[in-house]
């Protein structure tokens, strides 16, 4: 396998060239709020130490609002018109491992039976250039969910900093290899340089997801949930900023002669999410809704798709208006599990 090296300047030149060829170029924004479409290569941000953006990268694959089709009324009949899909070739520079690794996880639910072509087309058209992460705060727990600052899952190409200015460039997928081949003028081959050894401070592993799952298997009715969810105000910002939360709503918007059907982000934290027409609500209190969120991430999705629905990015904790820390909740679950083992022994 060939090794490649790219400098910061070459990355900017590459972005510039792609912009010239009408590619959509995305990078974390200057103010750290989100992954942004950039218009000028000078806005490209490649920084390992960057704090995860306020909202995750998923919006470029699963947008907050997406037209499914338009409908046009014609006398007594209707015409359904497909929404023009985005065919633009897209590249994302500097994706955090905790963002990039969410894409294959999401892909499972969007493809397990019926295939969501809106999502798939975007994934197909996008080259994700991941970047090793040198950020850590008390909210991060990627190592606890089986990832790491060097996790390559989901990236097509992975960058590891060699110095402030130079990156080791590792193709991961065929799409990544093709991208490198197509842009080789910007990339140096470097057989004499080998993959840098991990000199990253890795976040300490805080809990075992196996333990958590085993506890969740048996404690659906536990009082724990009602304490954990007691101070939750049900605002759902956690779900909206999450790289893996994928629940959505489908609504129609009308304007007399034509209208559209739209798919919008939604969340299990809302009371209305599961409320039946009859008024019966399976999850009528916040504790149950909080249980659903944690269980879906660490049990249900694992049971169903053999993946954890969490990448440990810590966004939900950083943004929570009432400072609920999912990491601490999971640590609690972990220690509850260990207690039960000790009791049984």
């Amino acid at each position: 396998m060939k090794n490649f090296v790219i400098t910061r300047e070459q990355l900017a030149n590459l972005a510039s060239k792609l912009l010239g060829e009408n590619w959509t170029v995305i990078s974390p924004s200057q103010n750290g709020s989100k992954y942004l479409k950039i218009k000028d290569a000078k806005d490209l941000i490649i920084d390992s130490a960057l704090k995860p953006t306020d909202i995750s990268m998923k919006e470029h694959f699963f947008p907050k609002s997406e037209t499914l089709f338009f409908f046009k009324r014609k006398k007594d009949d209707y015409e359904l018109i497909d929404a023009p899909g985005s065919e633009a070739k897209t590249v994302i520079f500097g994706a955090k491992p905790c963002d990039a690794s969410a894409i294959p996880v999401l892909s499972k639910v969007f493809n397990w039976d019926y295939k969501d072509e809106f999502f798939n087309k975007r994934v197909e058209n996008t080259v994700i250039i991941g970047l090793a992460c040198k950020f850590e705060d008390e909210n991060c727990f990627c190592t606890s969910v089986g990832l790491s600052p060097l996790a390559e899952n989901g990236s097509d190409i992975f960058l590891i900093p060699l110095s402030d200015d130079k990156y080791f460039m590792k193709p991961i997928t065929d799409k990544g290899r093709d991208f490198i081949a197509a842009n080789e003028t910007f990339i140096s081959e470097a057989d004499n340089i080998s993959e840098p050894i991990n000199d990253f401070s890795t976040p300490q592993k805080r809990f075992s997801t196996e333990n958590v799952k085993e506890w969740l298997d048996k404690n659906f009715e536990s009082k724990f949930w009602f304490n954990a969810g007691e101070t939750c105000i049900g605002c759902a910002q956690c779900a909206y900023v999450c790289p893996t939360c994928h629940c959505f709503d489908i609504v129609d918007e009308d304007c007399y002669s034509c209208g559209r059907r739209v798919k919008n982000w939604d969340s299990c934290q809302f009371e209305l999410f599961t409320k039946h027409a009859s008024g019966h609500n399976p999850r009528e209190i916040q504790g149950k809704r909080y249980r659903q969120r944690v269980s879906h991430k660490f049990k249900y999705y694992k049971d169903r798709f053999d993946e954890l629905l969490c990448t440990g990015c810590g966004r939900c904790t950083r943004g929570c208006p009432v400072s609920i820390d999912i990491g601490l909740i999971l640590e609690d679950i972990n220690s509850h599990f260990l207690e039960t083992i000790n009791v049984n022994n």
């Binding site: 089709f69 009949d77 072509e117 489908i250």
Partner: protein
């Protein structure tokens, strides 16, 4: 392929069942689709009124009668109210069929008991006609149907037809206080009537559908009568949006009701977390 895009169907007929329940007879606008459309008893579909949204109901007609596709709905929210405003000849959207179905093939050679309450008769009716159209392959058939009042009974004409059939035992009941002066049927809640009728439980399959409270009290009666847990079938009515196992709304634990359901046996229900 856009999995969220419905096909266009035309309303061929509207039957007013009760003041707030209607049945639509639908046909695909595209004749080829109409010819090729098949489904199984118990499956559901997504019905849309453009500009208002989509709504999930079971297909109420039998898969043995494919000339029309029927759905019955009760006016409750935004979409069902919009459906209520539609007229014969109007166009609406339909996606489906989705979900699993009643194991009609496996029920052959067995006694069949249908128990329904209120609009819960819709999915059961689909199975009833399916069974009737192959009547010789099943043993005894019993129908127990109840509603709050006489006016709330749906499919009134068909009920009369079932009653007149010799090889079917049809018991209709209304809740106490819901009867009229000339009411000749039973008076009492469905679970009580089931216990009274006590259908044969050996070599029998029961299909139960109705409001959650009815199901809750009927299940113990069925067990008491000796029905096997795997032979008590019901359909779950979780809120759904996509019907495709994507939107996450109908989750009960790791089960997607829209894909793994809506038909569940009591044996399966027992294993699910109490989240429905």
């Amino acid at each position: 392929m856009n999995i969220y895009k419905p096909e266009l169907v035309e309303i061929k007929d509207i039957i007013v069942e009760t003041p707030d329940i209607k049945t639509f007879r639908l046909q695909f606008k595209d004749p080829q689709l109409q010819n090729n459309f098949t489904f199984k008893a118990g499956q559901f579909a997504e019905y849309s009124v453009f500009g208002e949204g989509e709504c999930t109901f079971c297909i109420a007609s039998s898969p043995t009668r494919l000339e029309f596709l029927e759905c019955s709905f009760k006016m409750y929210g935004k979409v069902t109210n919009a459906l209520n405003r539609l007229k014969v000849g109007d166009t609406m959207g339909l996606r489906g069929p989705y979900g699993n179905y009643f194991p009609v093939e496996e029920m052959k050679g067995k006694n069949v008991v249908f128990i329904a309450g209120g609009i819960g008769l819709a999915p059961v009716r689909c199975a009833i006609w399916n069974v009737f159209d192959m009547r010789s392959e099943f043993k005894d058939v019993t129908i127990i149907y109840g509603a709050r009042t006489v006016a709330d009974l749906v499919y009134k004409h068909e009920i009369e037809e079932w009653k007149s059939m010799k090889d079917v035992k049809t018991i209709i009941t209304v809740d106490p206080g819901g009867e009229t002066s000339d009411w000749k049927g039973e008076i009492g809640f469905v679970p009580t009537i089931v216990e009274k009728v006590a259908p044969q439980s050996d070599n029998s399959v029961a299909i139960i559908c109705g409001p959650p409270i009815m199901i809750k009290y009927t299940l113990p009666v069925m067990l008491k009568l000796g029905f096997k847990e795997e032979n008590i079938l019901t359909t779950l009515e979780n809120r759904m949006k996509c019907g495709l196992g994507k939107c996450g709304r109908c989750n009960i634990g790791s089960v997607y009701v829209c894909k793994d359901g809506p038909v569940f046996s009591y044996l399966q229900l027992k294993e699910l977390p109490e989240d429905f």
